[in-house]
């Protein structure tokens, strides 16, 4: 089990962060009411300098400790480097949160009838990811007495590798299945159309030199040279 004190303080910090509230005096005031009443004025203040992204709040995840572990794991899978942003800056954790809150998280298009046999996971995608990110924190606590997000990159990679290889015990699902789903959803979040909350500012596409939702390449189909173009998103199809 993760250290309770750690989990609590982390979750509060993350809540403050996702509420758009600056850290500071408000913690002293404590209590949810003051946080909520404080929100509006802070948002107003924020709009002067940066635009608030109202879509970046949690739909599926309830505990910030879960979301923090998810965020750190996606960043380890797709890290920021000299090419450009990593998963967190691309909005991948929010992409995954939104997907898990909706039909994909609950496998509405999959066949989920019993009986499930050996090797099959009788769990929804949302349950697999939630259990998995909690196990990331639990394993981190067991091996390093820290939360997953507090580990060094090498430590994170080592633990994720244990999951990838199916070595971490999970309930009703092999940890390799969790990892494969997490990796797949991370790549989706990096390269989806920005309408889904990932691939922020089309930065994933730009790194990949992928031009996005273009309507036609008929004019350049025979071009010998590589053509780099500014990507377009579905928002331009309205």
């Amino acid at each position: 089990m993760a250290d309770k004190k750690n989990v609590d303080s982390t979750s509060r910090r993350a809540f403050l962060k996702t509420s758009g509230v600056a850290l500071g005096g408000l913690i002293v005031g404590g209590g949810v009411t003051s946080l909520l009443t404080g929100k509006a004025s802070t948002e107003k203040k924020q709009t002067k300098t940066t635009k608030v992204d109202y879509s970046e709040a949690l739909q599926f995840f309830k505990r910030s400790s879960d979301f923090d572990a998810l965020s750190a794991a996606t960043e380890a899978i797709y890290p920021e480097d000299e090419n450009g942003p990593g998963a967190i800056k691309l909005g991948v954790p929010y992409y995954i949160d939104k997907q898990l809150a909706g039909s994909y998280g609950h496998n509405v298009n999959d066949y989920m009838k019993i009986p499930f046999q050996e090797g099959e996971a009788p769990l929804y995608n949302a349950d697999i990811i939630l259990q998995g990110v909690r196990r990331l924190n639990e394993v981190s606590n067991t091996q390093h007495k820290k939360l997953f997000k507090e580990l060094t990159e090498d430590q994170q990679i080592e633990i994720l590798t244990q999951f990838e290889q199916g070595k971490v015990k999970m309930r009703l699902v092999n940890s390799a299945i969790f990892f494969a789903l997490l990796r797949e959803m991370t790549l989706e979040g990096c390269y989806c159309d920005p309408v889904y909350g990932g691939n922020k500012n089309m930065a994933g596409w730009k790194m990949k030199e992928y031009p996005g939702a273009q309507m036609s390449y008929a004019n350049i189909i025979e071009e010998e040279k590589f053509i780099k173009m500014q990507p377009v998103s579905l928002a331009s199809h309205k």
Binding site: D81, L187, I227
Partner: protein
């Protein structure tokens, strides 16, 4: 409580290519046709905002959803089959257009050898060349007989292509010139020519120019936009039943489309079909639709399942080899070859279509001597430029990690620097590979699911190994810096991802070894026709649609003859 409807001339079960072709041809001939479709009706307007990989490629917007039914799968008779649960692992079109909405639109014909495979193999190599349990058989129709109907399909769908010098004779050229060539295609072409092969541009049902078909339906010129296979075409440039045969049927005034209508049984009495039972998928209300002629026009799995659920024909028994329905099931979902990584060249790989590419037929069917190889048939060496989507295309050279720093770096570097050369293989039928009703898993209404039993055999492994070497050889000639050969797993894993399954209600010239005659008319039930790749006794090298389309055009002549005179069309 079943509501009985007034009788019609013809009822079809599914409005993809086969249902569309049957509806167009029979309504043109003056018959009243009701087309039942379990999905919704679509128009090109549905595809206007569709350039979305998550929605179409990842979440399978156009495909049949598995929440009410799926298929089950196992490798051999001793296993308990598991349901294919994840929609990402089972692609079956749904809604008007069916598979013809999401297809990649590669439109090769099969070869003369395919239609007389047993006769020609035995003649050339002797009976011993064919292993005991390999159930290849002649199709009951020859290439020459089918050729005019290939032309009919190609003219309807406006195929753009150039002649494959090693394919069967054509009575007419393709209706449209081939697709334009990208630099990667030219590189493949040159390499194949240097190796002495015979490359040609892959024929496609994405029109290379504006085209009006013989029924007066129009196709726009393809824009090479890359949102093609898995997607519907907003331009109406990819031939799809919704822009070709369905409007043709509607124009006659003899066609009625009923959507949200899922056929559950063929009604059968005294050796004849009396109609079908179907369910409104929204209300659950059941209807009986009587008809003079019933045509099964669903996908392979559902055609066979309907026959088995309705108790028509004798189910196949893999232990004794007796019975017919379900036999010769062939899965075509393993395409391997090699991937080449090019350090010094960069291609516009984000451009493409579902069929854009080049191929050569030097190693397919019996186009080369098989005396000294331990397999029959062959594969087509091909390369494609589909328009690489960013989520689905992240291959990195073997040995590179598949996530983390090194992965990111390599996947970005090679995203426009990799070309795969692959081989589509012919898949032979075996005694132990078949379809039947699953004893454990049911659909939402209590009917058993269809169960597929299939695995790789030595024939597959030996042929695959032979072809992978050829693919790698082409990439070497193309100048790839690093070549990774694809590795075939020990067993087929059950990913049915591009709707290429055949057999189960196979055609032939003998009621003892086939379910339908060359008009796809059931031997056991003269007013029931079963259209689709379910009729293929083996899976030919390439994509099935052109051949199943030609067979269906041929079958419609039989249906018209039957509606006028009755009786078995082949004695």
């Amino acid at each position: 409580m079943v509501k009985k409807l007034p009788k019609v001339d013809v009822v079809t079960t599914g409005m993809g290519w086969t249902g569309g072709i049957v509806s167009a041809e029979l309504t043109k001939a003056g018959f009243k046709v009701v087309g039942l479709e379990r999905g919704e009706e679509r128009t090109t307007e549905d595809y206007l905002h569709g350039h979305d990989e998550v929605k179409y490629t990842v979440h399978k917007e156009l495909m049949h959803k598995l929440n009410k039914d799926t298929i089950t799968f196992r490798n051999n008779l001793n296993e308990v089959a598991k349901p294919v649960r994840n929609i990402a692992s089972l692609t079956i079109g749904e809604g008007t257009g069916g598979g013809g909405a999401h297809w990649g639109a590669q439109t090769h014909r099969y070869y003369p050898y395919d239609f007389e495979i047993r006769t020609l193999t035995e003649k050339k190599y002797g009976k011993k060349k064919i292993p005991k349990d390999m159930l290849i058989q002649d199709w009951g129709i020859t290439y020459d007989e089918l050729e005019p109907y290939y032309v009919k399909f190609e003219e309807m769908a406006g195929i753009s292509g150039e002649v494959d010098p090693l394919a069967g004779k054509r009575s007419k050229d393709y209706p449209n010139p081939p697709m334009r060539k990208t630099p990667s295609m030219k590189l493949f072409q040159k390499a194949c020519e240097d190796l002495g092969y015979h490359p040609y541009t892959v024929p496609s049902a994405t029109a290379s120019q504006f085209y009006k078909n013989p029924d007066g339906e129009q196709l726009s010129a393809c824009q090479y936009c890359s949102f093609c296979g898995n997607y519907g075409c907003e331009y109406g440039a990819k031939a799809d039943p919704i822009v070709t045969v369905i409007p043709t049927a509607k124009k006659t005034g003899n066609f009625e489309l009923r959507t949200n209508s899922e056929v559950t049984r063929v009604l059968y009495e005294n050796g004849k079909a009396t109609g079908v039972l179907y369910r409104d998928t929204r209300t659950g209300v059941e209807y009986e639709q009587p008809a003079d002629l019933v045509v099964l026009t669903s996908y392979t799995f559902n055609n066979v399942r309907l026959l088995l659920l309705s108790g028509i024909g004798t189910p196949y028994n893999p232990k004794t080899g007796t019975g017919i329905i379900g036999k010769n099931y062939c899965d075509h979902h393993t395409i391997m070859g090699a991937t080449g990584f090019f350090d010094d060249e960069k291609f516009n790989l984000y451009i493409g279509t579902g069929a854009l590419g080049m191929a050569c037929s030097d190693f397919t069917v019996d186009n080369f001597d098989h005396s000294n190889v331990d397999f029959i048939h062959g594969g087509q060496i091909e390369m494609h430029q589909f328009g690489n989507e960013p989520i689905s295309n992240n291959a990195v050279p073997m040995g590179t990690p598949t996530w983390g720093k090194e992965f990111k770096k390599a996947s970005l570097k090679y995203s426009n620097r990799q070309i795969s050369v692959v081989a589509q293989r012919g898949i032979m039928p075996w005694k132990q590979h078949y379809l039947d009703l699953d004893p454990n898993y049911k659909d939402a209404y209590g009917d058993p699911l269809i169960r597929a039993t299939f695995d790789y055999t030595d024939q597959d492994r030996n042929l695959n190994e032979f072809l992978v070497e050829k693919c790698a050889g082409v990439l070497k000639k193309m100048g790839a810096s690093k070549i990774d050969k694809h590795v075939m797993p020990e067993h087929f894993g059950g990913n049915f991802t591009y709707q290429h399954d055949a057999g189960g209600a196979i055609m032939g010239n003998d009621p003892k070894t086939s379910a339908v005659n060359k008009y796809l008319q059931m031997w056991d039930c003269e007013n029931l026709f079963v259209c689709g790749a379910s009729a293929f006794p083996h899976f030919g090298t390439t994509n099935p649609t052109t051949t199943l389309g030609a067979l269906t055009y041929h079958a419609t002549e039989g249906m018209i003859k039957y509606l006028k005179k009755g009786g078995q069309l082949v004695k």
